[in-house]
């Protein structure tokens, strides 16, 4: 299969798996019992999307979905760093949920025109569920933004944190130019990032949430506005000289935080420790 398509599917699947994993950590533990049930559904959907994407990848390049999800080295994962951050509290979780699903809507909209027929069918199916995730996230943001001051402040803090790393979702994927050229990725990541910023800014304005919180991610956008992944791939060597605003980048080339290492250790442990077992 095209290495560009493989790269695209891996980035999409890893985003969904790792965020789904984090979301699922709230299962049985959410601060509100009705919300516990709702948020668990979202987590299950995300993991389900990851499973479908990995299956597509496995059909073309061999292997199986579980092997791809749980059998790779930590450095082989291509999700955005934003997805791997611990849940912290409900405010950050909510902010990240909103940021991710807003970004995902933009990405999926573009992928409706992908050159790969199977991916196109899957995107149609995923979009239906993701639409509800976004409705859920919007409703929460709206509710908290219009509510008492403590919640509003916590939400703004959470949004600030999430936005600082949001553009990691739109870092160029590996073989980006080829993916765009071959039509798998109908729009370059830089264009998706531009659309995301515009949509997010408009929505937050509507909700009356302070909008200066994403100005910093505008700057970060300039930093990554290269169509090749090379700049990011070299991030490790330059980690110390990287400006602080570039937080949350590097995921698309396999540069993750220690927090991901911890997540990976646990997430893959049963699978790794039992080679040859079927589950």
């Amino acid at each position: 299969m095209s290495e560009a398509l493989a790269s695209l599917l891996t980035a999409l699947a890893d985003d969904e798996l790792i965020l789904g994993h984090r979301h699922s950590e709230w299962t049985g533990f959410a601060p509100h019992i009705e919300e516990d049930v709702a948020f668990s559904s979202i987590a299950q959907d995300e993991i389900g999307h990851a499973a479908a994407l990995y299956s597509l990848l496995a059909q073309r390049s061999g292997g199986d979905a579980d092997g791809l999800a749980l059998g790779r080295d930590a450095a082989a994962y291509r999700h955005a760093v934003l997805c791997e951050r611990p849940n912290r509290d409900w405010a950050y979780t909510l902010a990240r949920h909103w940021v991710y699903d807003t970004a995902d809507a933009i990405r999926l909209e573009a992928l409706h025109d992908t050159a790969d027929e199977d991916l196109r069918a899957l995107v149609t199916k995923m979009s239906r569920e993701e639409r509800y995730h976004l409705i859920h996230a919007d409703a929460w943001i709206e509710r908290v933004a219009a509510g008492p001051v403590e919640g509003r402040m916590k939400l703004e803090d959470g949004l600030k944190e999430a936005f600082e790393e949001a553009l990691g979702l739109f870092e160029p994927i590996e073989h980006e130019e080829k993916a765009v050229h071959e039509g798998y990725l109908p729009l370059p990541s830089s264009e998706l990032a531009r659309r995301f910023r515009e949509l997010a800014a408009n929505k937050l304005d509507e909700l009356g949430v302070q909008t200066e919180i994403y100005s910093r991610s505008d700057e970060a956008a300039e930093f990554v506005a290269s169509s090749s992944g090379d700049l990011i791939a070299s991030g490790d060597e330059h980690a110390e000289s990287q400006p602080e605003r570039a937080r949350g980048l590097g995921g698309r080339s396999g540069h993750h935080s220690d927090e991901f290492q911890d997540l990976w250790d646990v997430m893959t442990s049963t699978y790794r420790n039992n080679p040859g077992a079927t589950w």
């Binding site: 299962t27 499973a51 699978y271």
Partner: protein, 306 residues
């Protein structure tokens, strides 16, 4: 009508197999007893979500991860239903939740124990849910009608959970040596707690809930049904039991001698002093206290900005 007359009628109604609705007259002891019983059931569903929740991050496949999350989600849903039934008896959900996180109320003994590995999910999903289903099915004929209506739905879902747990068990039993060891090791750790789950021998004279048919069967009767149903299956799969070991009787039952059961761990748990009680409750307490703002945001009337 005097209190005694009302009580007499109530007892007669119950003795004849009559049911009680929320708005009906009932003795205070009945109300308090039923409330406490359902509250404990609700607490157990929400606390029962935690051990499995702790296994979710290391689920061995994507399918298992999703189905376990779905199962835990059902349990939280059961808690939600049960708290509503309990609430109608005169204690607010908020008050029940606060009592739970402050360690003032109770939940089932098995949820006070730690989890270590994936075999624990098989034990919880098959044997603990199996034990719970034996007790809950016996409650379907309880005298408190609103409880039985909710239980009907819960038992239907629990049947699915049981199949889920059995499926994981069979997968381990027919798997690699390491997979079989996962189940055996977990069984060794959990067996005594599962035997405790049904409680010590019932005191039929003193147990008001039995007398008023809120509960319909004794603890030892329920435990016996569980043993007869599950012990042969576990032997068939080639696993063995730690103490207290079941023995077959001449008339085809699987028996555990009362003197083989060490009740001490259960006594500690009854005081909320189990191995994981404090950690699990304090985690819940922390989330509850740190997220007051969530409850406030949800209770304010929504102002639509757009």
């Amino acid at each position: 009508m005097t209190y005694e007359e009302k009580l007499g009628r109530f007892n007669e109604h119950i003795a004849l197999g009559g049911k009680v609705e929320t708005q009906d007259w009932m003795p205070d002891d009945y109300r308090r007893g039923v409330l406490k019983f359902i509250e404990m059931h609700a607490n157990s569903e929400i606390m029962g979500a935690l051990p499995e929740r702790e296994c979710l991050p290391f689920a061995p496949s994507l399918q298992r991860k999703m189905s376990l999350a779905a199962k835990i989600q059902d349990e939280v849903g059961h808690a939600q239903l049960l708290y509503r039934v309990a609430e109608d008896l005169g204690k607010s959900r908020e008050a029940m939740f606060v009592d739970l996180v402050q360690g003032r109320s109770k939940f089932h003994n098995v949820f006070h124990y730690p989890v270590h590995q994936w075999g624990d999910v098989a034990i919880i999903g098959w044997l603990i849910d199996g034990a719970a289903l034996v007790t809950q099915a016996a409650l379907l004929d309880s005298s408190y009608a609103p409880y039985t209506r909710v239980l009907k739905r819960i038992c239907t879902e629990e049947q699915l959970h049981l199949r889920h747990g059995e499926d994981i068990t069979l997968e381990l039993a027919s798997g690699t040596d390491a997979q079989r060891e996962m189940f055996q090791e977990a069984l060794n750790r959990w067996w005594l707690a599962i035997i405790h789950f049904f409680g010590p021998k019932s005191n039929v004279e003193k147990d008001l809930l039995l007398r008023w048919k809120v509960k319909t069967r004794t603890n030892e009767d329920l435990r016996q049904e569980f043993l007869d149903r599950y012990v042969p299956k576990i032997f068939e799969l080639g696993f063995h039991f730690p103490t207290p070991t079941p023995h077959s009787s001449e008339d085809g039952h699987w028996l555990i001698k009362d003197e083989d059961i060490d009740w001490e761990p259960l006594n500690s748990i009854k005081k909320n002093e189990g191995p994981e009680t404090e950690r699990r409750l304090s985690n819940r307490r922390a989330i509850y206290e740190d997220h007051r703002w969530v409850r406030e945001a949800l209770s304010e009337p929504a102002v639509h900005a757009a």
